[in-house]
Symmetry: C2
Subunit: 347 residues, 2 copies
């Protein structure tokens, strides 16, 4: 029985699991952001080691391999420095860097072919074929895309409010929620230079924020009820996310190739991750509806059942076993899920 | 006969005119950015004085009043410092700060009631009633709005290209133009980590630019022919700009008030400014078409004839006379236009 470390390194937090070759999770630890692109290499490595130390409980047992799932896994990283760092934790083998997309996918399934859609602050679709990323769609960041994700939602919300305030757009309950969030009061009679004072204040306050902070307004769209503007934003988010998913599902066939590599609804898993899909139920349901309409063979919305996953930590655990030559089947997958849930529940 | 200085102070350049009370422009000068918000107060004042010195030709004649048109005219500025600065140029009266929107409006008309739409990097609509800004719509900046303007167009273009490259969106001729602008070559076979290398390069290059720089791609949308994606972007820009204009045209009537203050097509002028409207003919034509459809009484597109203006320098000249109690009529307006064109033609 060998032990492994599986690490899900995100931009703001890092999760590490000590797992043995039968899929039993033995220890779990968390730390701050572990992505070298956003945090710098030294701080990221320190976070990986911090979380790992907590997972191993400080014992100096042997660790056969380490797998780190992170965004930007395709970057050339000085992995020998990773290896040196993990030596103190008993690492005898190598450090493998894998995509966070694959880790999210494997958090929902142990199969090696399927489809994933993740919508957190950003949005990305992935087609997995034979355990590799065959196609990645969107995930192009806040300026170029990430359509339907948290930043996109927040931006559409504040744009709708700005439009409602000067009569370009429909009135919406989002207005008072956004203004309250920014500490601005709305007095319909207070105007200067042709503008409502509330709109001038909205402009001032929004440009004081770093642009990416607009994602903080995203949850508001799910709070209002019977609001046509909010519903339109949710519909357009679902439409964009469905396009991202459909583009990923079609990918992998060269010109003239048969549909053999295309995603098969029902036969292959569909994994949903990220707060917009896992917490904003309306978006996930609308994506399923649109997807089933676009795939007549799927047997309607009931034929498409996405697995919702919280993060990539189960998937990193699945991958460290797979990449070390251990076959992960249904019982092992269930053991990973259950033993990890028990460890995380205790945190 | 008194002399006046009229100054159109923009973010990147400043234009000054020496004009007499009969509307004869006597001198013209330009300098760098003269907006205190974007340039700082001292640099802005230096630019205003630099352009003014060129306009007065260095002669120490008397200047009765100075009018400066600029964005952010509603800000509280230390105008006594302006006055001290202009004393060396013979100023005997006051320095008036006015909105750049009004200056653009008056560049197209000497009437005191009408409508203006400006779409340069940003987009803003204005309803002018009795020589004052009755309503200002949009102009809310690149994150909150400026819908249909240069930054908006540039962003939609790069988003469409990002979508075309991973199959979320339709193929478009914009792709090769944008990639060429960024020095990226497109090899449809070159993929890593599930992505086209060209898309990875697009992402890298776009995020190296300051966000607001996306406006540099705007002209590309007018270069491609018979391209459905480009046409869709132009249509949506025209739709957004029409909403901005219609919201401004409706404004000024309180609840239950009659339509007396509403813009009357044909009877009151419509002024178009900014490069998206004055250089991208397709957008201006589409806005006129949509506006006439929304205003059945306007007599079709032929009943709506916008006056295109290049900047706010004619308008600043009109305003310095009006604000000094001089009535500007058709002959004086024509004299301002003609004498200024002669001076500018000689530059």
């Amino acid at each position: 029985m060998r032990n492994f470390l599986a690490i899900d390194a995100g931009g703001t937090s890092t999760r590490a699991v000590l797992i043995n070759s039968s899929g039993q999770c033995l220890g779990y630890g968390t730390a701050g952001g572990g992505n070298p692109v956003s945090r710098g290499f030294d701080a990221a490595l320190a976070a990986l080691l911090d979380a790992s130390r907590k997972a191993t409980g400080g014992t100096a047992g042997e660790v056969a391999e380490v797998l780190v799932a992170m965004a930007g896994a395709s970057l050339e990283l000085p992995t020998h420095l990773f290896r040196d760092g993990f030596a103190e934790l008993g690492l005898t083998g190598k450090v493998m860097i894998e995509s966070d997309l694959l880790a999210t996918f494997y958090s929902g399934t142990y199969h090696d072919d399927g489809l994933a859609l993740i919508a957190g602050t950003g949005a990305v679709g992935a087609r997995v074929v034979s355990s590799r990323l065959e196609a990645v769609t969107d995930g192009t960041g806040w300026l170029l895309g990430d359509n339907g994700a948290g930043f996109w939602l927040g931006r559409e919300i504040v744009r709708a409010v700005a439009a409602a305030l000067d009569g370009r757009g429909q009135a919406t309950s989002l207005t008072l929620l956004v203004l309250a969030e920014l500490g601005v009061t709305l007095d319909p009679g207070e105007r200067t230079q042709g503008r409502l004072r509330a709109q001038q204040q909205l402009i001032l306050k929004v440009y004081e924020l770093p642009a990416i902070e607009l994602s903080r307004f995203a949850p508001l769209v799910f709070q209002v009820k019977d609001d046509a503007v909010a519903q339109d934003i949710i519909d357009r988010a679902a439409q964009a996310l469905t396009q991202t998913l459909l583009a990923a599902s079609r990918a992998g066939n060269g010109p003239g190739e048969a549909d053999g590599r295309q995603w098969q609804p029902g036969a292959q898993p569909l994994v949903f991750g990220g707060s917009v899909l896992t917490k904003g139920g309306a978006v996930a349901a609308a994506v399923v509806g649109r997807l089933s309409a676009a795939m007549p063979g799927a047997g309607g919305p009931a034929g498409i059942s996405p697995v919702l996953v919280e993060d990539g930590v189960v998937g990193a655990s699945v991958m460290v076993l797979k990449r070390s030559g251990i076959q992960v089947d249904a019982p092992i997958f269930a053991r990973i899920q259950q033993s990890l849930a028990a460890l995380r529940g205790g945190k």
